[in-house]
Every structure is written in C-alpha cells, then in structure tokens.
C-alpha cells in the first residue's frame, strides 16, 4: 500500500494529516521497540546470569596460557630455536630456573598436567625433574643435569612440544575433539586408531537423539490428540498420567527402568510367564542402546506431549467437521487439515526433546552400557575426573555449534511461518 503512494502530491494521509507512509513507518518502529521492550528483560537476565559465565567458560577451549605463564624464560629461549636437534644450553638453563620457580609457587603441576595431555608420562618427567632442579642449578651443567634427571629432556620432541605450546592460544583442544592432533612438527594429523573416540560419539549422540525425538513424536502425537479432542473432564484425568512421571526424579525413573528391563526384570519375567519367551531366552534390554533409548524416550515423552497438547487445544474442532462435510474422508481430513496445524507443536516438542536428549549423561551412564553412552558422558568425565577443562569446553562448544546449526536448519526448513503458508 505504502509503495503505491509514490507521487508526493498524491500521498495518502491518515486522519490527522500525516502521510500514511510516515505513519506506517512510525507504527513499525513503535512495534519493533515494543517487541524489543518485551524481550529486553529476559535478554538482559540471560546475558548476565548465563551468557557471560558460559562465554567465559568456553574461552577455555582455546586458552593455552599455562605454559607461557609458568615457563616464561623457556618460552623466550625457545623463540629463536629452529627446531632442529636440541635447543641451546640457554634453553636448558631457562627451563631449570622456570621449574624451580614453579615448584616454589606450586604452579608447576599445571604445566605437568598440560604436557601430559599431549605426551603420556610428561607429568612424571616434569614433577620428578622439578624435585631435583636445585642440584642441577647448583652444578651449573644444565643440559647434562636435566637429561640425567630424565632422558625425555634429551629428546627433540619434548622441546618441540614446549615450543608448540608457547603461544597463549591453541586450537589443539578442537583438534583433539575431532580425533586429530598436531604431530611434533606442528602439522595436523589423525590420532592413532586406538585413541579415536569423539567423532563416533558425536555421530552416535546425534543419531540417538534424532531417533528418540522420532519415537516421542510417534508415541506423543496419538495421546496428545486424544486428550485435546476429549471432553475436559476426562482429558484432565489423563493429563495426570502424563504429569506424574515428572514428580519422580530422574534418578528414580532411571532406576525404575533398570528394574523393568534387566534380564530378571519385570518385562522379561512377564514375557516368560505368558510364554512368549523361554526362561533362557531372555532379552537383553538394558546396558545397551535399547536401554538408553527406552529410558530416555520415557523420560522425554512429556516434553513432547505437553507442547503438542497446548497447540492442538487451540485448533477449533469445526475445521475437521467442515472438511468432512465437504466430502473428505476422516483420513484425508486429518492429514490435510489437522496435521498441518500441529506442525508448530511438533516443532516445539522436537526441539525440546532433541536438545535435552543431546545433553543427558546420567541416564546413559546407568543404563547405556558401552553402546548407549553419549558425548556428554565424555564431557562430564573431562570436567570431573581428568580435569581437562580445555577439552571439555571444546567438546561442549562443538556440541553447542551442532545444536545451533540444526536449530537454524530446522527454522529454514520447517520455519516459524509454516502455518501461514498451509
């Protein structure tokens, strides 16, 4: 409309005499400000309570300050080293002094841990040497002293590693997350076969989360539809059944599934009792993928049912009656008229379920066995046990990136405007 009024002498005006174009622009601006005003409180809240802490945490995935901070002299001495053979005596002297300072400030263990991520055994090398370093400094023969303390100091790879870790930033953790690593010369290469785990785990995590999402749609859609089309007095009673599992903690529900699924468990025993299975033919339903899928589908099912229900509740039943009176059979009416209107609910439920599934680790750890554990288990391991927070953060950032990528794909493919097109 506004575009039509291109001739300035013939502009459409609103009642108070302002040109319509201006008025619309103003209304749009007001609308935008209003929308942003509504969003602002939550946005600011999330920014301070969540985003700042997370950005801070994820910066650890590229942080490599341990070596430059704690071995400053060594880093400087190695700056001019060409990487051929062994570095000059001055580098050995610098390292000895750094080790002494590090032992006194008790920071040297951080260096030891950091180096050990790259080459197994470096922890012992650094810690052991640091205990003997006073004598080496006294003797003045740094090179012999250090090599005598531990033969690793006589290997060029050790020094190449130190040189490579001299920069305060690294992409090493991201490489490790993708089963890659730097070779001693600093070029990227694949991890040896027996250390490749993360790529497979990422793929499995995505695949299982998708499968679980699909299953929750399959199970959630019929009951949400049933409840949405029933009289309220019955559907509210059924709703209690959907809500009850929520009141039992995750740990309790997981434990309940163990009781249900194990080989002497409820499901197997019932099947044996009614004669479907023989006593020694009991199914393996747990400590494998099946266990994870069943337990997680159950735990996440309400996250699909509730959004579906709240969307289905807004669809007037008259639409279906109209379609049928126009000659569509029940199936056609359902597929052509009803389902398109529930896409928003499916979308919301799928996003919820998929994203939650991707981050679960306690349930897979308890019921998943070896084939049913997910990437989050590794993240938790590196956060809590190995304390390799850089790697944990890198894995987390990649996971986050995957989810955001999928979210945008979903937005593009299914789109929030889908309803208007249908």
């Amino acid at each position: 409309m506004a575009e039509a009024a291109s001739d300035p002498r013939d502009v459409m005006r609103t009642a108070d005499g302002t040109p319509l174009k201006v008025s619309i622009a103003r209304a749009l601006r007001r609308n935008r400000l209003m929308a942003l005003g509504l969003i602002a409180p939550l946005f600011l809240f999330i920014l301070f309570s969540f985003l700042i802490p997370i950005v801070d945490m994820s910066l650890r995935s590229i942080d490599n300050s341990v070596v430059p901070d704690n071995l400053p002299r060594t880093v400087e001495a190695l700056a001019d080293w060409d990487g051929e053979n062994l570095p000059p005596e001055s580098a050995f002297a610098a390292l000895a002094e750094d080790l002494r300072d590090g032992r006194e400030s008790r920071e040297i263990g951080k260096v030891a841990t950091r180096l050990n991520y790259e080459i197994s055994g470096m922890r012992g090398t650094v810690m052991g040497t640091s205990r003997r370093v006073d004598r080496i400094i006294e003797s003045g023969a740094f090179k012999e002293g250090l090599i005598d303390a531990n033969e690793d100091w006589g290997k060029p790879e050790t020094w190449l590693l130190l040189k490579r870790l001299s920069s305060p930033y690294t992409f090493g953790y991201y490489l490790n997350s993708l089963d890659l690593r730097f070779d001693p010369q600093g070029a990227v290469e694949a991890q040896p076969e027996f250390r490749r785990i993360y790529v497979d785990l990422f793929i499995r995590t995505l695949w299982m989360s998708l499968l679980i999402t699909g299953l929750t749609i399959l199970l959630g859609y019929p009951i949400a539809h049933l409840m949405a089309t029933m009289p309220l007095r019955y559907s509210n009673l059924l709703m209690i059944l959907v809500l009850l599992p929520f009141w039992t903690s995750l740990l309790v529900r997981t434990t309940a599934w163990i009781v249900m699924l194990q080989s002497e468990g409820v499901v197997n025993s019932v099947l044996v009792w009614i004669g479907i299975l023989s006593d020694d033919g009991r199914l393996e339903l747990i400590h494998n993928k099946v266990g994870t899928i069943v337990a997680m589908t159950h735990i996440l099912l309400p996250f699909m049912v509730l959004p579906l229900y709240s969307v289905m509740k807004t669809i007037p039943p008259s639409y279906m009656r109209a379609a049928r009176s126009l000659g569509a059979n029940q199936f056609t009416a359902f597929v052509r008229i009803y389902m398109p209107q529930t896409v928003a609910g499916i979308g919301a439920g799928s996003i919820l379920v998929f994203i939650l599934a991707i981050g679960y680790y306690i349930t897979p750890a308890l019921v998943g066995g070896t084939s049913g554990t997910l990437i989050s288990n590794q993240i938790a391991y590196h956060m809590q046990s190995s304390l390799n927070w850089g790697l944990a953060a890198a894995l987390g950032v990649i996971l986050l990136g995957l989810v955001i990528g999928l979210y945008f794909t979903y937005n593009r493919l299914v789109g929030v405007d889908k309803m208007k097109l249908g």
Binding site: E107, I258, Q384, S386
Partner: protein
C-alpha cells in the same frame, strides 16, 4: 543394615539439631565426603565425638561424588568453601600437583601412635603423600554368586576371566585402572611384576588382549552403587566393587555372595585440605583428632574398611551392630593376595589409557 540406618538417622538428627542450636560465633567447618553408609561411619566415629568435645565447632557434612572439579573451581574462583575433603589417593596426588591442596607436615600435624611412634612410621607404608592423610584402606575385590556354579567355586583372578569354567555375566568398573592389572594377573603375571609389564607397549597390548576374551560378557559400571545391586538381582555372577559395600550385602543383607580376595586392589581413602580455605587452623585440629589411632579403629566398627595406621589394627573389634568379628572382613588381612595401585604410574598414563580404553570399548 536396618540398625545402621537408624543410627545414621539419629546421628544426622543430632547434627542437624546442633546446626539449629549453634550460636553465631561457632566455627562452621564444611567436611565433604562420599555420602551413604561411608559418611555415616565417619559421622559416628569422628564428627560426633569431636562436636561433643568441642561445642563451639559445628561440622557440616556435605556429599559429593568424587573428582576435583568443585575443588578446582573453588580455588580458581578464589572462593574456597570446602574445608576438608575426603578423596581417593589418585585425586589427592593430582590436586597436590596442581596446588589445590595444602602440603602437610604429617609428623607435626598428626597424633603419634599411643606408643610414641611418629605418624609417618605409623601409617602403612606407601600410603602417605604430600597433601594426603590416609584414613582407611579399602579394596576393589570381586564377589561372586554362590548359587551360580555347581561344584567347583571360583577362587582366583584367573577364574574371573575364565568364561568356560565359570560362564555368566560379570560387572567391572568402566575405567582402565585396575582392569589392566587384573587382566595381566589372570594371564599369569605375578602380582609384584604387574607394573613392570604394564610399563611396556607389549604389556598394554597383552592386557587389552586378555580383556578381549571376556568383553562380550561384561556390564561396565560407573557408579559404585551399581555392582552390589547387579549381584543381588542375579544379573551378574561376578562383580567387582568396594569391599565395604560387598560386605554389607553379604553380612547385613544376607545375599548369596562370597568374596574372592585374590588379586584385590588396595586403595586408600583419606583427607586432603583445600589450599586457601578459610578455617585452616580449625580444620587441622579436627583432622588431628579424626586420624588418631583410636578414631581410625572406631570407624571400622561401622564399615568394613581397614584403618590406615598400624597401631589401629589391634584395636579393631566387633561390628557395632552385628556383633561379628570384623578382622576377617578387613582387606588388610588379605594384603598379600593383592597389591597397592601404583598411583604415580597411573597419574602419568591415565589420560592416554582412558582414551584408549574408551576406544577399545566402542570397537
């Protein structure tokens, strides 16, 4: 067990009562431990007598599930709220390396034995480390179901790995630690040579190859509560777990299980003091009390873990509620059948072997 729990309840009620009654100037110490029956035994042996003797000190008992994530996060944030942490020795070494725990002067900070032996000599050999005061010796041992096999019963580690003679599922911890050692022992390596063999690439290959032979029959656990549950349910015929938990399943809950002490791995649990805590002086006082000869012996009344002091061993008496002699249930009695984990070796090799172990699991 019923009684244990009732006493726990009373104990906790007592602590909470004190918590509400505590006046504002009382010192509060946050003591962190593993929870469950283990914390209950500590409350009875250490916390309650100490608070009774020092009414101005309030000990808060917090639970955690291991690892150093919280300790490290507190140290990095400069907000250390945990005053004393019960840790396994592997974590103590790692935390000590990183400067998360305070270095201790054991002889000056701890009680001597009643006969005057200094603490460094009274604690069992190889258990003390720079930031760590040992408390109890526990073991990872196997138990098996006594109703699973007719005729010959399993006795050795080789039997655990023998699927033909003793078929059925086993449950092992999902970690390379201990499993590689056991695989070698089952493969005929003498206990005292395990780490020499493991220190070579061929030794590691050999251990994984042996594990391959039982891989299809293993359920891997990650939470310590799981193995006793699986054994009690009859889901597995062998399971390795904390000996104290297996003890309570056998003796208190009368489950049809028996221990295999052969090849048991002795491990140490004890105290570490987070560096830069707010109440270091008070905590050291409590730790001095809680690790004296009598207190360590007392704890063994409530849980079947062996005290870490030589002078405590003769004082270990009968179980406080069951009235049975605890001595045959102490892992320390069977020490010659097992070995102490080589913590330094694992500290050096754990990062790589864990990845390798996980990759092996996925194959």
């Amino acid at each position: 067990m019923k009684k244990t729990l009732r006493y726990t309840t009373i104990g906790l009620a007592g602590i909470a009562g004190l918590a509400f009654a505590a006046s504002a100037q009382a010192v509060e110490l946050n003591v962190v431990s593993w929870g469950g029956a283990y914390t209950a035994s500590q409350l009875k042996a250490y916390h309650q007598p100490y608070m009774a003797a020092n009414p101005d000190v309030q000990l808060n008992s917090l639970d955690y599930s291991g690892g150093l994530a919280e300790v490290r996060a507190q140290a990095e944030a400069g907000n250390v709220t945990w005053d004393l942490v019960d840790v396994v020795v592997a974590d103590a070494i790692r935390g000590c390396d990183e400067g998360l725990f305070m270095e201790l002067d054991h002889n000056a900070m701890l009680e001597a034995a009643p006969d005057g032996t200094p603490p460094m000599e009274d604690f069992l050999e190889g258990t003390v480390s720079d930031c760590f005061v040992p408390q109890i010796i526990y073991s990872f041992a196997f138990a098996y179901r006594t109703d699973a096999f007719k005729g010959e019963q399993p006795k050795t580690m080789a039997d655990v790995f023998d699927l033909e003679k003793f078929p059925g599922k086993r449950t092992l911890q999902r970690s390379p630690v201990n499993n590689l050692e056991w695989a070698l022992i089952a493969d005929g390596v003498p206990v005292n040579e395990v780490y020499d063999v493991l220190d070579t690439p061929e030794g590691i290959e050999r251990a994984f190859a042996k594990l391959d032979t039982i891989k299809s029959e293993v359920i891997w656990w990650t939470e310590g509560a799981v193995p006793a549950q699986l054994l009690a349910d009859g889901e597995v015929v062998f399971g390795n777990g904390y000996n104290g938990r297996l003890f309570s399943a056998i003796e208190e809950e009368k489950q049809p299980l028996a221990m295999i002490w052969d090849g048991q791995v002795l491990d140490i649990d004890g105290w570490a003091v987070p560096a830069d805590g707010k109440n270091i002086d008070e905590v050291l006082k409590f730790m001095r009390f809680a690790t004296d000869t009598q207190r360590l012996a007392d704890q063994a009344k409530y849980i079947s873990y062996g005290p870490a002091r030589k002078s405590s061993l003769p004082l270990v008496s009968t179980h406080a509620e069951l009235g049975i002699d605890m001595e045959p249930h102490m892992p320390t009695k069977y020490a010659e059948l097992g070995f102490l984990t080589n913590f330094q070796w694992w500290a050096d090799n754990r990062d790589e072997l864990n990845e390798r172990f996980e990759a092996w699991l996925q194959q």
